[in-house]
Subunit: 284 residues, 6 copies
């Protein structure tokens, strides 16, 4: 579950520049350079951690002399009151980096925690949890990392690494006189051999057609659990089934119990609440 250094470097640098602006004037005016401090990252809520490495990188980039020590690892379940990392060194350095480090840690832990809740709800079933492309502009790489950390699997990263024929494509192609079968045939025939073909369907017959035409994945969009179950009966085993649309913590179990292989949940990234974590400072 590692992160790629140059990708994360750029995101972190952008964030530091954004929060630092022309310099931390308060700290520079008041806090002596020689003052040493020791900070503890304290959980104010239960959840799953994500972003410790990113938080550490923030401190390193702001002040390379700071020592950041993770006490937990990304993916660990933690409780309110746990200390999950410490940072030690120049008080001025810690004060400058604090907010940016927390912004990453809280937000990514929020997504990991929400993902873990969905994973827990479907525990014991074969269904896996995935995010969508409804991510925060500029943070997709890290948000997808947080989904993996929370126990989910990633959907395609962008428009270029998977073929997903959605309703808006289908409507256009139907108008051009193609049948669902034609469309999938065309996609399969022309697609790069390394990419899967996924197609969105809204009825059982269409699901059957898609499976017969060789689609690799079928997206069941906004179907009722009853219909999903029928779709599973009709095509499971021949093709992966993904449920999407309006899935929440209340209905996830019921949907997973229909036998679909994946549930994809936009809220993991577009509406996760930040996990509350604070940095408690002591001076030396």
């Amino acid at each position: 579950m590692s992160l790629i250094a140059p990708v994360v470097d750029r995101i972190v640098e952008t964030a530091i520049l954004e929060d630092m602006g022309w310099g931390d004037i308060t700290t520079e005016l008041l806090v002596p350079d020689s003052l040493q401090a020791h900070g503890s990252f304290l959980m104010k809520a239960d959840g799953v951690l994500a972003g410790l490495e990113v938080a550490g990188l923030v401190f390193l980039k702001v002040d390379p002399s700071l020592v950041f020590t993770p006490l937990k690892r990304d993916g660990d379940r933690v409780k309110k009151g746990d200390v999950v990392a410490t940072v030690r060194g120049s008080a001025a350095g810690i004060l400058k980096a604090e907010r940016t480090a927390l912004n990453f840690l809280q937000r990514l832990s929020g997504t990991a925690t929400l993902t873990a809740k969905f994973v827990e709800i479907v525990a014991g079933l074969k269904t896996r949890v995935s995010e969508t492309r409804k991510t925060t502009p500029g943070l997709r790489y890290l948000e997808k990392y947080a989904v993996r950390v929370g126990g989910g699997i990633n959907h395609r990263h962008h428009l270029g690494d998977g073929i997903l024929i959605k309703d808006n494509h289908l409507v256009a192609l139907y108008r051009a006189g193609l049948s669902l079968r034609d469309i999938i045939d065309k996609a399969k025939k022309n697609a790069p051999h390394t990419l899967k073909v996924e197609v969105e369907v809204t009825s059982i017959p269409d699901a059957v057609t898609a499976a017969e035409a060789g689609a690799d994945i079928i997206l069941l969009d906004n179907m009722s659990p009853e219909e999903m179950r029928k779709a599973v009966e009709a095509v499971a085993g021949r093709v992966k089934l993904e449920a999407s649309g309006g899935i929440n913590l209340e209905n996830a179990r019921v949907i997973a119990e229909t036998g679909v292989d994946i549930i994809s949940v936009g809220a993991l990234t577009h509406s996760a609440r930040a996990l509350d974590i604070s940095l408690e400072l002591e001076y030396e």
Copy 2:
């Protein structure tokens, strides 16, 4: 409430590259270049719009021949069922840009809508609503814009454009033997003349000291409404009072009624839910 072109350009380009990857393979394989479409941005929920201009920019950058027409303006209150903008032109172009445009529009409208709820709750009082520095890394500029659009006012943008002496600074300085009065004196004496000095206090006597020392703003951190009211009585008029910490839609009115000038709410940016908006396509 305008946006600065080069700043937004960079954010939007990053988002497009992130979502496009190596190209929209689905659309390229299936959708004929000549197909024309007409899309309607349809509200799936009530709220306050923010990001129409940004969404339009996404379409323009992906395909300059597309025509994006806003029917509403940022800041407008809209209802479920409203069509707030249209886009017309190459179906392929629209399909490629759709998700990125919606990601901006939904997320920024989410923050604007939440801000507007707080503003509404304190309506009739003098209290204004502000965000904090708990923003999404990389999106602060747009999130602060969304707060303004929702009726809020912006707090300092970063560590460089305001002096805010927080608990972590105070603890350090007390240890060094300075009194609150000393600290504020030092800040006032050395600060650039264009910057205000804000100080966080946790007691009424400290609020009084801060006001007497000439602080421009006093931050009442996690005080009870009762204490806030006392602080207002003690110093209002001489200095701006800002309440912060754990403010939510339930307690905002009570807090505002204490007479504080500003409530600053981290959730506006760290935990706003995306506003549900869809793009409905028709082909021509």
Copy 3:
């Protein structure tokens, strides 16, 4: 076969800055600003064109007043002596942009032409031609475009959009006590549902094992045509077969006739010769 504007913009800008340096001193010293010219892109060899749009973008970025008119399209087969595009306008502008435009056009056409030769050699068979990751650093996006233009299909774009278990992975995993079956099981079980699993094999039994374990694609590395034929007999239909390693214009037909689905050819990108094209200028 469209190109993504912001991606190409950056590559083209880098190239212009690289070739322009501090300005075209020769042209500035000698060529009057008012001089108008008309240039013709003349084929000095037969081949398949790729990069006309990119060449046009170079002229546009160097001097927006230039008019670049393609007379052919990317993918067209052209003959020595054909004029494939014209550019008209300020002589100084054309002279400044000429070399960079040609560098793109000649190089991309070189790859498209070589790809087309392979495609032609396997004509009539189901085998398709693909490139590898042996691309020019910084130009992969455009080189893969040239492969498509030449009639090939693209392999995975990078390490993130496909699972390809190569010999170096297998050796490591065998040492850890896993069997080929175990390895593929593990990959299938943990992989994101949208990604295919490809595995490299060097024997027929391994190919059979891989097919039974559910690999999506089997890479036959440096096998003899005889062995490939056996592999095809053993597993074709159940799984895609890709031949790789030492494929050239001499042996490509024989390899394709074994029945493999894809031949992947590193030389398309690492050793294609530039196609000879010149710009003939006339002044007005």
Copy 4:
């Protein structure tokens, strides 16, 4: 023959991001973090090495804990079977960086090797070998380095660091009524004193005129060896003579024997074949 760190850093980072995409999913799914490996860069062909330092930088940037040890130096002639460098450390790190490192090393060694062949062919003569501006967009800096490593000398880097009056300039200026003498006078008079003036000629009288007018270098474009010899007789000693156009390994010696000072060869950069090098991994 050193490289400039910030320039190479940017090229290498771009290449890593391009090949890594969203992460090496295969390695992350399968290869344990703790697995250590030892890789040997093995020559699969004879040639001249270029790019060892760049390859080492790729490993360093992907995983700073890897130890890359060059056993040869850029410029060394190596034989098939030679091990030219090793890399040791995390197997996952090596697997991620392998392809990008090889892409640089093979390509730059290809240019160095081809340059060395030309240098060898003209050995014993005073003629030196140079490249042209027909370089790969984005890689000119490294390709010119490879030419130096192969024993060549660099031509001007871009349009700004030398005056080269080519046929396309001359045609324009003749039309404006200037003679060759006028043109060179004008260039000499107005050029910055630090820049040389080179002019392309196609006849002996023009070569004589150019020399008399004080051109620093005369470019003999596509002349026959016979004509070149005459040009040398007419002006050598007074001015540098550079032969260009259609020079290949077959005719380079004959051309050099005419007495020209430099032969400039576009193929060094636009059509060099990558030198075959592989990375052989062993696990520890």
Copy 5:
């Protein structure tokens, strides 16, 4: 008075790339890699140092093996003949970085020295010295640092971190029928609570109105010392007074003696002369 690493990194890298171009050809041709040198930064004039840290960063980025040792600190007053820093290591590395390091050091010391002269001239008075937005494009961050180093205080950094209503705004607003009082009221009412409101006035009555309306700072533009004194009498104590326009070393004391709080001087950044400093090399 610290600098923010990522901000300075970018400025320094840009400068190195600008001065290095395609490599220091002179040093590479002539200076052996093994040659070691020791350089001394020698003051050729008296002044106040600024930019030692930046100069050190230049050497570090060009050649990480160089050892740069400051013997003085930014802000120190130094005399002609003083050695203020040394650099030791590879002669080639030092020669490559020398000019860029000096360009920063001389220029920033020039601004610091001029600032210190103004500060000295107003010594004993309460008046402080500030720069304006008339900075060098791209260097504002460092120039403002140099002003602080020279004993000045910074004015707002850019258009976003302070409200400054200038003559050009006022003319527009008067035309719209607003009075000065209206304008300041409007600004105070709508401004973010963290920002001060500064207003430019040209008469005593306007200064009084501005003070009464609650402006935080009043800018006295191009007033005579006599008028300034009256303005001070009229409003000092209630509001900060800043004098601007045509302030030079000759008139600064007289202006400060009027009792204004701040004098802001464009020349600190737009017209400071570089301080003469040389690097004396010895070889080892």
Copy 6:
């Protein structure tokens, strides 16, 4: 004397972002979007204009609807009171861009004006005026443009486009046992054929040696006019002579009269004073 669009684009964008920060809060709070204005760039001093095109680009990038009309051209001599350009359109747009546009225009005109003064002082002589590498970090491209605009010629742009053997190189090479003759021979033998070799000398015999060894340019560093005259007598005609070191408006004529070909003046870029220009706004 044209500018390269992508180079200037980047410099201008950096400057706009630097001055805009998070937006022009004053203008946004106070100036109605609909207000139209007309601005005149008014000379407050005599001088030579440089940067009108750059200033126009600033307005265009801040607000593409603004119309900037140059009434003069770069290189024109203008008088106090002249209006040199106008800008018309949205008052808000003009107010936002004003300072950045002026910062470029004033600074570049300052360098052009100072260059023109040196050119005027040596009028009637063959001596030309050039700048050095003592430029402002990040602005070298534009500063060198301003020197050309002022009538000067550019020295090498950076370390890569000319060989200049300076005292610090010579000391190192003498220590290694080489004579001046050896050093120049070595440089001439190994240098790319397109680059000139310049060498710094401090005595007449060395100048003679350098000329005989074939140096293209000799730099006379800090010589007295008397010595320069002797150097001219000794070697002029065989080689270009450049005087450098301590040249100012007082001694430039005397130095030029010695017969040197070029005087290079660091102050053109490191210590030019900005030319005073203002923008006078009227509202419509």
